[in-house]
């Protein structure tokens, strides 16, 4: 579904992503670990095609199509969807307006909003005055209404209390269980791994992939020994 070949990305003249290769197959979810500033969000934003994320070399291919020069809307039409880590607050634009744009199925909006405890938020300005958890739930609501084939989730659980992580995790898992739905998830806390079936994990440090492996074991190691351990063993498992 998603193929990233030898990708290097610059932001404001600074090289952030360095020659990475990545494959996500149909119905596959991959989790991305890495310390702050390692380039995880940059990778997701480059896949989405945000302005200012300049591809210096390599290719992003989605469903066989070269996406390097496609505008964001094109990537959305190809069914790539993003859940922001820090979404902007937009005064005067209601969450319901966006939801109604994404689907004409009102019952579906109501159902999902209810599931995510967002019924009352639909009539509020998007993200304005939302708590951290509400923002994440609103992001999940929007991205799931887009019905993407590839979900890019940037720390979906950060700032969310445990009760709501479980709620979001279940909703997300239900979605990803469907046919041909894939995801790339950035996580710091690892909580999301308790809800979503993930077979592949990957560590990014300093704009490179250092190792891949089973996500749970990988996360346990990171928790115990930090990212330094990853750098130590990268010679053995390095993927690029």
């Amino acid at each position: 579904m998603l193929e990233i070949k030898d990708l290097s990305v610059e932001v404001a003249g600074k090289k952030i992503i360095r020659n990475i290769n990545l494959n996500i197959d149909d119905s596959e979810t991959m989790v991305l670990f890495g310390p702050n500033g390692s380039g995880k969000t940059t990778l997701i934003k480059a896949i989405m095609g945000f302005e200012g994320y300049h591809i210096k070399s390599g290719k992003i291919v989605f469903n066989g199509k070269d996406m390097n020069d496609s505008p964001i809307e094109q990537r959305v039409r190809e069914r790539i969807g993003i859940m922001y880590q820090h979404p902007p607050k937009i005064r005067g634009v209601k969450l319901a307006q966006i939801a109604n744009f994404l689907t004409s199925d009102k019952a579906k909006i109501t159902r999902l909003a209810e599931k995510l405890s967002l019924r009352e938020h639909l009539n509020r300005d998007v993200n304005l005055g939302f708590s951290g958890g509400e923002m994440k739930r609103s992001e999940l609501l929007q991205v799931l209404l887009q019905e993407p084939r590839l979900l890019l989730l940037d720390e979906p659980e950060s700032g969310v209390d445990l009760e709501n992580i479980s709620l979001m995790g279940e909703v997300l898992n239900d979605y990803l269980k469907q046919k041909d739905k894939s995801a790339l998830i950035i996580t710091h806390t690892g909580y999301i791994l308790d809800y979503v079936k993930v077979k592949k994990g990957c560590v990014m440090i300093d704009g490179r992939f250092w190792c891949t492996g089973g996500p749970k074991e990988m996360f346990e190691t990171i928790k115990k020994k930090g990212y330094e351990k990853c750098t130590e063993c990268h010679d053995a498992k390095r993927v690029d």
Partner: protein, 366 residues
């Protein structure tokens, strides 16, 4: 409403007048007034709680009007033009709540005409009403001028929700001058909408909170087109104890020049007042100059203001694009959201209607 008048106006003018909030069916109105140039076309009250007349007729028939004429200006030691012709007189009777809005329309028709009106609006003690005034110009009315003087007298415990829609054109200059006087526990809400091109508008409506616990709020939505100059503000003088005021302004410039003023003046210690001005500049040629002013003789008053001017945040556009909107759709939805009629304190009855008018005007601009 008289069929003949509708026939006389012609379809095009009819649409223009309707676009400034005039409901010709009068189904959801309690009284109507229409003046074209200096000619009062008709007035009619459908509610026994509302008197509506041309101001000249009111001055002739009602001797008590004499004490109201110019009173608001005298109180502020201000002069006012005496060479007016026409205008409306509205009086809502003591203790009456009038549920349907009263409507008035001032229409410019003849080429180069200088319309100068003086309106008197009185809400007697405990009365409650909605007033919607639409001011517009015929496509034929080139080089027109409109001067509108309005004096509002809102007596004890009365409430007036006033909505003014300006729907002018590129070669019309406009100068409304209005003052509202509020007695104790009275409240005045002024909603102002101006989304069409205009050559020049200069206005600085004022409210004087003369009685304890009086409240005033001015809310405005402004779209400034290339070539337009709009110097628009609101002023509230908080004279009495426990009075409150709020001024909220939203301005978008697609190339015009906007001066967005606001002035809160505390003449009493126990007051509360807030001023908020937000501006969006969508074109390199547009300018918005916000001038918020707060004035107090006392140290411990509760007054605040916030002002923010800028272009649309790129991140907001990108966010909406990542949901599938095109960049242009994203800009449009953000501007429409910024200009949402929810900013105005409109009565429920008018909310949908005015939202429709705004949608139509904005869809012409974006």
């Amino acid at each position: 409403m008289q069929k003949e008048l509708i026939k006389n106006l012609g379809i095009q003018d009819l649409e223009t007048v309707a676009s400034s909030g005039m409901d010709f069916s009068e189904k959801a109105r309690s009284a109507s007034f229409l003046q074209q140039d200096n000619r009062v076309e008709f007035y009619k009250s459908l509610s026994d709680g509302v008197e509506i007349l041309s101001v000249e007729e009111a001055r002739e028939k009602l001797p008590e009007i004499k004490e109201y004429w110019g009173k608001a200006f005298r109180l502020l030691n201000r002069e006012f033009p005496e060479d007016t012709q026409g205008g409306y007189f509205v009086r809502v009777k003591k203790g009456r709540t009038v549920h349907l809005p009263i409507q008035a329309c001032l229409f410019l028709k003849a080429q180069g005409f200088k319309q100068k009106v003086h309106n008197i609006i009185i809400l007697e003690e405990g009365a409650k009403a909605y007033l919607i005034t639409g001011c517009s110009a015929s496509k034929a009315a080139g080089e027109g001028f409109h001067l509108g003087i309005s004096e509002f007298f809102i007596h004890k415990g009365a409430h007036l929700n006033f909505t003014m829609i300006h729907s002018w054109k590129e070669d019309v200059s406009v100068k409304p001058i209005s003052i509202a006087l509020l007695d104790a526990e009275a409240s005045f809400i002024s909603n102002y909408i101006c989304l069409k091109p205009v050559r020049e508008i200069v206005m600085y409506p004022s409210a004087v909170l003369a009685g304890a616990k009086a409240r005033a709020s001015f809310n405005s939505l402004l779209l400034s087109h290339p070539g337009s100059f709009q110097d628009i503000g609101s002023r509230v003088i908080l004279k009495a104890k426990d009075t409150q005021a709020e001024i909220i302004a939203r301005a978008v410039s697609t190339g015009g020049k906007v001066i967005s003023r606001g002035h809160l003046k505390a003449e009493n210690r126990d007051i509360k007042a807030h001023l908020e001005c937000r501006g969006l500049i969508l074109s390199e040629k547009g300018t918005i100059h916000a001038i918020p002013e707060m004035e107090s003789d006392f140290r411990d008053v509760d007054m605040s203001h916030e002002a923010a001017i800028g272009k649309i945040n790129k991140e907001e556009i990108e966010y909406l694009c990542s949901r599938g909107f095109s960049a242009q759709e994203a800009q449009s939805i953000i501007v429409r959201g910024f200009m949402d009629v929810g900013v105005l304190a409109l009565p429920e009855l008018l909310k949908q209607e005015i939202s429709g008018i705004e949608d139509k005007m904005l869809s012409e601009a974006f």
